[in-house]
């Protein structure tokens, strides 16, 4: 007999014998109350009772604290029982994804985001609450397994090209796997950016296009190292040229600006410094003289004094003429 197996067999045999003895004493060795919730032997009836009890408490909770207290009790349903828990839970409450469903999905996604996502797609896509479930899942998933979420989002986008608007219900019902739209990929980037900047931007590059939320994504990067990590998602940064921003270079440009905002001196020392104009305080002092400097002077003046003309009495006729031309052009 394998020597390594012996202790296991002896242990199990001892357990069985001891349990039998205890049983003879009429103790009816059932599991602990906490274990009861985790034991599949007790079946769905127990889960159902427990969930309904939490639901009642959540429904009657008047304060956030009471809600949170009730919500915590759902924690005792083990992850492998969440699926049956969800099946017994009212998923929609007044047209919204119910709090209980959200809490279950959050826990599930923390363990296995893809399983939670597939369940939600199958069961919620026709109920008008898919987006809400999706956001809860990706937030929890990004937190626990950012790389897996990133890979999943890229795979999902590769398999079905994300649509620009909203996915239609008809298309959704035809698909067994979640269909992502532009906003869906955007949401993934936003969730990932604080925990995994590189992954966030990998998804962002797949998303492409422009959104009013893009600046929010860049602003979420709170340190130069986070910006540098986000830049790792880009290929061909060495080929970028100043004033020639196109394609993904536009996104890289916004990251360079963020870098410059966070630490101008650090950016100045980087090998990307040539891509953006210097922001040092000497900038205005180094304005070129003559006609090429007049335009900077014009823009500075008009932005600080939008309706007041400058004092032109000591100006050369050429400068006065140029100023009037700029005024006609800008007005």
């Amino acid at each position: 007999m394998n020597r390594r197996l012996n202790p296991v067999i002896v242990f199990c045999a001892s357990c069985a014998a001891t349990a039998w003895v205890w049983n003879q004493f009429g103790t009816d060795a059932k599991s602990l109350p906490t274990d009861r919730l985790k034991s599949s032997a007790t079946g769905n009836r127990a889960i159902s009772e427990d969930i309904h009890s939490v639901l009642r408490d959540l429904g009657s909770a008047e304060t956030s604290e009471a809600k949170l207290k009730s919500a915590r009790r759902l924690d005792q349903v083990s992850v492998d029982q969440i699926r049956s828990g969800l099946e017994e839970t009212p998923l929609v409450d007044e047209g919204q994804l119910s709090l209980v469903a959200k809490l279950f999905l959050i826990r599930w996604a923390g363990e296995d985001g893809e399983a939670a996502m597939n369940w939600a797609w199958k069961n919620l896509r026709s109920k008008g609450v898919w987006k809400s479930a999706y956001r809860e899942i990706i937030a929890a998933w990004a937190w626990s397994q950012p790389t897996k979420l990133c890979e999943w989002a890229k795979r999902a986008a590769r398999n079905n090209k994300p649509v620009l608007g909203e996915v239609s219900l008809a298309d959704a019902e035809k698909s067994d796997h979640p269909l992502l739209d532009f906003d869906g990929l955007n949401d993934v980037s936003q969730c990932l950016v604080s925990v995994a900047p590189r992954e966030a931007y990998e998804v962002f590059l797949i998303r492409g296009g422009l959104s009013s939320d893009d600046s929010k994504l860049t602003r979420s990067l709170q340190s130069v190292s986070a910006v540098q990590e986000a830049l790792l998602a880009f290929d061909g940064l060495e080929n970028l040229q100043p004033d020639r921003w196109s394609g993904s270079g536009i996104y890289a440009n916004s990251l360079f600006h963020r870098w410059q905002d966070l630490d101008p001196d650090d950016f100045k020392r980087s090998r990307f410094a040539h891509l953006l104009p210097d922001r040092s305080p000497l900038e205005s002092a180094s304005r070129p003289e003559g006609p090429r400097g007049w335009i900077s002077e014009f823009y500075e003046w008009t932005s600080f004094h939008p309706s007041a003309p400058p004092d032109m009495k000591d100006w050369s006729p050429e400068k006065t003429e140029a100023w009037k031309d700029y005024e006609a052009w800008r007005n």
Partner: protein, 686 residues
């Protein structure tokens, strides 16, 4: 109240005695947030490294558990974390000196996050404290426990624990002072709370526990003793579990079966709100908000944040926001200010809104969220009390905060549009007339209709219920006293209506008098596309598919409608041309202008189109904005304006990119009669 350290002892004993994996998992759940956050702090925010350290510490715990009976577990874990984190830093530094990191692709300069001095110095200072003082601080602040728990862990009374913590803070303060960091012991307590544990996902806890248990020692021995050990363990474990079950079941009768018996599970960090009721200073709440907000952006975090925000009284909102401005980051401010202000607004809207303006609260969050916050608050107030809210708007019209926004135009104007959108639906239009009269200028009055006229992307027309409501609005606009702008607004309003709801628009248009038919035809001409099929979407709403509206057919209709009304051809073409310059592509629009040269005067529209390229630098398809501007300006008939605008644009290009400017000199895009002028400007700029 949770007795964390007591619970730890029980769990540790359970793990040591029966190797309960469940007990070990609970230990990890209980202490992993503190361990992970300590590691994260020391490793300058490197999550992967902090996870490694957390793993190492709990693996060590699983091995050494039997010998830890007499120690304060939280304190022991904290010390191990600090030790392992500094080992890692040393190893990494050596390794990085040798290797070329992938990060160097982007000139990564590895250094700690530029957070404040206190965070960097904290753990070093903690290390120098006596064990008891350090343990007290770890339990109180890094694990968020109350004083009675600290007392039980240290084997002293609650009052003694309070004193112990106070003394420890003073010592810590003195250490900081020696290092040149001045901080009072009172505020130090609040600050330390901010370094406390953020919740960790279940997956993380599970991963750490599983790996750690793999490293736990297995029984070793020989002969009968080798087999005796598992046998005794089997008997003991089964007996213990059965006896425990009997005991617990007997106590459980009549109690809610879901009441947790475990010390704390997934919600360990969630329940930390209990410490708030004890320590309600705003600084502590700010620290708690920081801790909660650092979790994932899901419903649980929102709920936890609500629990914290509920601790702030309505009369404390202003004080809280002023204090939090320097302590919370913009994202944290965005997540909290709106909710607090909404609550204040419910009780005292005027004070809340005036505070928002006076303290420029919108600026404290990011510009977009800030503008949206003020818009939402005002809209909420308007819905509940429109006379007072609009009087407030007029009173503060000149306030600098309302003069700008992150959207197009001034924030005050956005609020005014909300007022107009609301009042125009009322049967009594007098309040709307009064409101418009009170706006300072004609331009303001015109802009207040931008939403109805579809001049802003979030036009409100589609909220109209039926034909009569829409016609009622149209008549109101037409009857406004100043015809200089109301015709333009009325036309845009009709166009927006056609775009949004073409069937209802056509029904309404057929009821309008003959005098309005030219206006209707111009509205049809200016509509780029009309709504088509409504396709149900995943979120329960609809996606509206748009169909293009043919411009050339509409142009002839409009000209004919003008002629039918007896208008001069030049006047008709000016109206039609102004619309087409906006509607058509640049190439088609310029071709239209060239085809009607001499028939119509469009200088104002052409100058306006040219100036759209005047305020920014850039290019479309490699054509600089200045050159595009010159294409439009060169069609202007007023000679002086034409020359000045073209020169202004070219001067700017010369200043921005002289080489590019000289390359454009010989291209046909530029007016040939100005070639010499442009050439001279290039020379002048060299």
């Amino acid at each position: 109240m949770v007795m964390m350290e007591d619970g730890s002892r029980q769990l540790l004993r359970q793990f040591v005695e029966v190797r309960s994996e469940e007990a070990f998992r609970d230990l990890v759940r209980l202490h992993a947030p503190m361990v992970f956050n300590t590691a994260l702090r020391q490793l300058a925010g490197d999550r992967a490294a902090a996870e490694d350290v957390t793993q190492e510490v709990f693996t060590l715990l699983s091995r050494k558990a039997a010998g830890l009976g007499g120690v304060v577990l939280a304190g022991w874990l904290y010390r191990q974390t600090c030790r392992r984190a500094s080992n890692l830093i040393r190893t990494e530094t050596r390794r990085k000196l040798r290797e070329t990191s992938a990060m160097e692709q982007v000139d990564r300069i590895h250094r700690p996050d530029p957070s404040d001095d206190l965070a960097r110095e904290l753990d070093a200072a903690m290390e120098t404290l006596p064990t008891k003082s350090r343990d007290a601080l770890v339990i109180r602040y890094f694990e968020g426990a109350d004083f009675s728990t600290v007392g039980r862990a240290l084997g002293i009374s609650e009052e003694a624990a309070r004193k112990q913590v106070h003394r420890a803070l003073e010592r810590l303060g003195a250490i900081f002072k020696r290092k040149g960091i001045t901080v009072a012991s009172v505020s130090l307590g609040g600050t330390l709370s901010g370094f406390g544990a953020t919740p960790l996902p279940d997956g993380f806890v599970s991963r750490i526990s599983t790996q750690a248990l793999k490293g736990a020692p297995v029984a070793v021995g020989s002969g009968w003793f080798y087999l005796l050990k598992p046998m005794i363990a089997g008997v003991a474990a089964t007996s213990l579990v059965t006896a425990a079950a009997m005991t617990i079941r007997s106590k459980e009768v009549g109690q809610d079966s879901l009441q947790p018996l475990r010390v704390e599970g997934h919600g360990a960090a969630l329940s930390r709100s209990r410490s708030i009721s004890e320590d309600t200073s705003l600084v502590s709440l700010i620290n708690e908000i920081k801790r909660v907000s650092s979790g994932p952006a899901n419903a649980l975090t929102t709920l936890r944040l609500s629990v914290v925000l509920d601790q702030i009284g309505d009369d404390q909102v202003a004080e809280f926001i002023r204090l939090a401005n320097g302590k919370l980051n913009p994202q944290e401010r965005a997540a909290t200010y709106g909710r607090l202000l909404e609550r204040w607004l419910e009780k005292d809207p005027e004070s809340a809104m005036t505070f928002v303006l006076e303290d420029d609260v919108g600026k404290q969050v990011d510009p977009h969220t800030g503008s949206k916050l003020i818009l939402n608050l005002f809209e909420d107030w308007l819905r509940r009390d429109d006379p007072t809210s609009r009087a407030w708007l007029l009173k503060h019209w000149e306030n600098p905060v309302l003069k700008e926004s992150a959207f197009m135009g001034a924030l005050g104007m956005h609020l005014a549009r909300n007022v107009v959108d609301r009042l125009i639906r009322a049967d009594d239009k007098q309040p709307l007339r009064d409101f418009l009269r009170a706006l300072p200028t004609d331009a303001d009055r015109k802009a207040a209709f931008d939403s109805l006229a579809g001049n802003v992307p979030w036009g409100s027309l589609n909220r109209f219920g039926d034909v009569n409501e829409g016609l009622d609005c149209f008549r109101f606009i037409r009857e406004l006293p100043d015809s200089a702008w109301n015709l333009d607004v009325a036309r845009k309003y009709l166009s927006h209506w056609m775009e949004t709801d073409p069937d209802v628009f056509e029904k309404a248009a057929s009821t309008l008098p003959r005098s309005d038919r030219f206006l209707v035809a111009l509205a049809r001409l200016s509509t780029r596309q009309v709504s088509g099929e409504r396709i149900p979407g995943l979120s329960g709403g609809f996606t509206v598919q748009s169909k293009p509206n043919n411009a050339s057919a509409r142009e002839q209709e409009a000209i004919q409608a003008g002629l039918d009304l007896g208008l001069p051809r030049g006047e008709i073409l000016a109206s039609v041309g102004a619309i087409l310059l906006d509607r058509l592509s640049e190439e088609d629009a310029l071709a239209w202008v060239d085809a009607h040269r001499g028939e119509v005067q469009l200088d104002e529209c052409l100058a306006d189109r040219a100036r759209r390229f005047g305020s920014a630098d850039g290019a479309i398809d490699q054509v600089p904005f200045e050159i595009i501007g010159i294409r439009w300006a060169s069609r202007i008939s007023d000679v002086e304006l034409r020359v000045r605008m073209c020169r202004g644009a070219f001067r700017k290009l010369c200043a921005r990119d002289l080489q590019n400017a000289s390359e454009w000199l010989d291209k046909p895009d530029l007016p040939s009669d100005m070639h010499d002028t442009f050439q001279a400007l290039v020379e002048e700029s060299r």
